[in-house]
């Protein structure tokens, strides 16, 4: 988790994409920065319901900053997860709850990667992160 890119650079990178193809490539590149979960960590309990791809989220709330880990079976979602994690890393639970994660993600220009059915998945992730 320590080697996540800075959120602002991710944002810049994604917002610079001029086509769906460029966004695709950017997300695939980002996906490589994710520390994958182990098979043991990918439990039914950690699974986020409502996503088209399989997504797992593990939140370990501590007093100062929480540790959040995540994984998905698709590269694209791993790319999105890198963006989300870099946004909330180092934040406490209360801080996370104050953030407008949805608006922030929408500002990333992910276009149809955040459409209806998949957006529901993203909303489920956001909800879980805020809990």
């Amino acid at each position: 988790m320590t080697d996540l890119p800075l959120y602002n650079s991710i944002k810049q990178q994604l917002r610079a994409c001029r086509s769906k193809e460029e966004t695709f490539k950017a997300l695939v590149a980002l996906s490589k920065r994710l520390t994958r979960l182990t098979a043991e960590e990918k439990t039914e309990e950690n699974r986020v319901k409502g996503c088209e791809s399989a997504v797992w989220l593990i939140i370990d709330n501590k007093d100062d900053t929480s540790s959040i880990k995540a994984d998905s079976d698709t590269k694209l979602m791993r790319g999105v997860l890198v963006a989300i994690l870099s946004l909330v890393q180092g934040k406490t639970k209360t801080e996370r709850q104050k953030m407008d994660l949805k608006a922030e993600l929408e500002s990333l220009n992910l276009g149809s990667y955040l459409t209806q059915s998949r957006a529901n998945g993203i909303l489920a992730i956001i909800e879980k992160i805020k809990k």
Binding site: G50, S112, T115, Q116, S117, R118
Partner: protein
């Protein structure tokens, strides 16, 4: 009367045709309304630019179709003031929506439980409950309402602690009268019954607020409110929709399937099996927009004034028996003793006038009124005063022609 239907009629090219060499006068709006160009355009646009199957796909067209399909749900939710779009379930029409509820609540009914309807119901809000009663041993009870839409003092005895379901129409399709809905719903809720309102005849005319009504279920058809055929709505409160056993199963409504078990999807999808009527949903949303863009109070006042005009003219004729209220209705239902309504209807038709003759899918109500059927002229916003007058004139001609000796 500031409202002028003539400009509105531009949106309805079907109305400017001849029927048997007479100008078509379409007064069968309670059966189905005509569709404005904006609805036709929405359908064309869907098929010409973004037709695709929804939800399951992830490509350019299916993203567009899914977005527009779910926006249609939003539009309909706003139209009836539903708190959330997931409370809007697409159905084929009012009939299917009522069947979905009747089937879905079956598991909660026991022998001796009571299902209460009113004496003004369309068969669609009667037969499904009767069959449910047959299947479960519940008792179908009928709250007698007068043809003025009033109830007797002893109404309270109909609502009991065994009343599990109360289903009533908002407006009678056969005679146009309003039921005392709010008072009945209050009674039903005091007895913890599930409540269903049949809004089929209301949505085209009256602004609907399901939260103000506070009913568990509200159902209506698109084709009676300027929308396409094959689409309708089951609105429900979250807890009410959640207790429904899915009436249909298959694709879309499941989360995971094995041969041993099936995990159903969340609302609204768990109640929508199979590929939905995507075009219908989009067309219905266009119909909602058509209506909300109008001055709805002016429309309603106009429709009521047409019915009132006909009422006033025909009330004077001693041969004519009118079953509709004098005011606050958008249709006039009548009969002429010793002349069959089908004969009257045939003559009106020969003059290009479309009304409806018969029992209006309400046999028990006809029995209550003591007639085999009535002749019903029902108005929509595009009807004119000339049309209302022409109906009266030709009806009187028909009576003359058909009176013996």
């Amino acid at each position: 009367m500031a409202f002028d239907p003539h400009s509105l009629r531009q949106d309805f090219p079907i109305l400017s045709q001849q029927a048997y060499d007479h100008p078509l006068v379409y007064l069968d709006n309670a059966a189905t309304t005509q569709k404005p160009l904006s609805v036709l355009d929405a359908i064309q646009d869907y098929y010409r630019s973004f037709n695709a199957n929804v939800h399951r796909g992830a490509h350019y067209l299916s993203d567009k179709a899914t977005t527009r399909f779910e926006q249609a749900r939003d539009t309909v939710a706003d139209f009836i003031n539903a708190p959330e779009q997931s409370h809007i379930i697409w159905s084929k029409g009012t009939t299917e929506a009522i069947n979905m509820v009747a089937y879905g609540l079956e598991h909660l009914l026991e022998k001796g439980d009571e299902i209460l309807i009113t004496s003004l119901e369309h068969h669609a809000n009667l037969v499904p409950w009767q069959q449910l009663a047959f299947r479960t041993g519940a008792r179908l009870r009928v709250l007698p309402l007068t043809s003025e839409g009033e109830w007797e003092d002893e109404y309270a005895s109909y609502f009991t602690d065994r009343t599990r379901i109360f289903a009533a129409t908002q407006v009678s399709n056969a005679i146009g009268v309003h039921t005392p809905l709010q008072a009945m719903l209050t009674q039903a809720k005091q007895h913890n019954a599930f409540t269903l309102v049949d809004g089929a005849q209301a949505v085209a005319h009256y602004p609907i607020d399901v939260q103000a009504l506070d009913c568990d279920f509200y159902v209506f058809s698109g084709h009676k409110m300027y929308g396409p055929t094959g689409i309708g709505v089951l609105y429900g409160k979250a807890h009410a929709l959640e207790v429904l056993i899915p009436y249909q199963t298959g694709g879309e409504m499941v989360q995971h399937v094995t041969y041993q078990s099936t995990q159903f999807n969340t609302l609204p999808y768990r109640l929508e099996a199979g590929t939905p009527h995507i075009e219908g949903a989009i067309g219905l949303a266009a119909a909602c927009k058509f209506l909300t863009q109008q001055d709805r109070h002016a429309l309603l006042a106009w429709e009521q004034s047409l019915a009132h005009h006909v009422y006033t003219r025909l009330h004077k004729e001693s041969q004519v028996a009118i079953y509709s209220p004098e005011t606050h209705t958008t249709l006039v239902s009548l009969s002429v003793p010793n002349i069959h309504t089908l004969d009257l209807n045939a003559y009106l038709d020969s003059q290009g006038i479309a009304v409806r003759a018969g029992s209006h899918c309400a046999h028990p109500l006809m029995a209550q009124l003591g007639v085999a059927g009535t002749l019903r002229a029902s108005f929509a916003c595009y009807n004119t005063l000339e049309e209302a007058d022409r109906f009266c004139d030709v009806l009187l001609e028909a009576i003359d022609l058909l009176t013996d000796e």
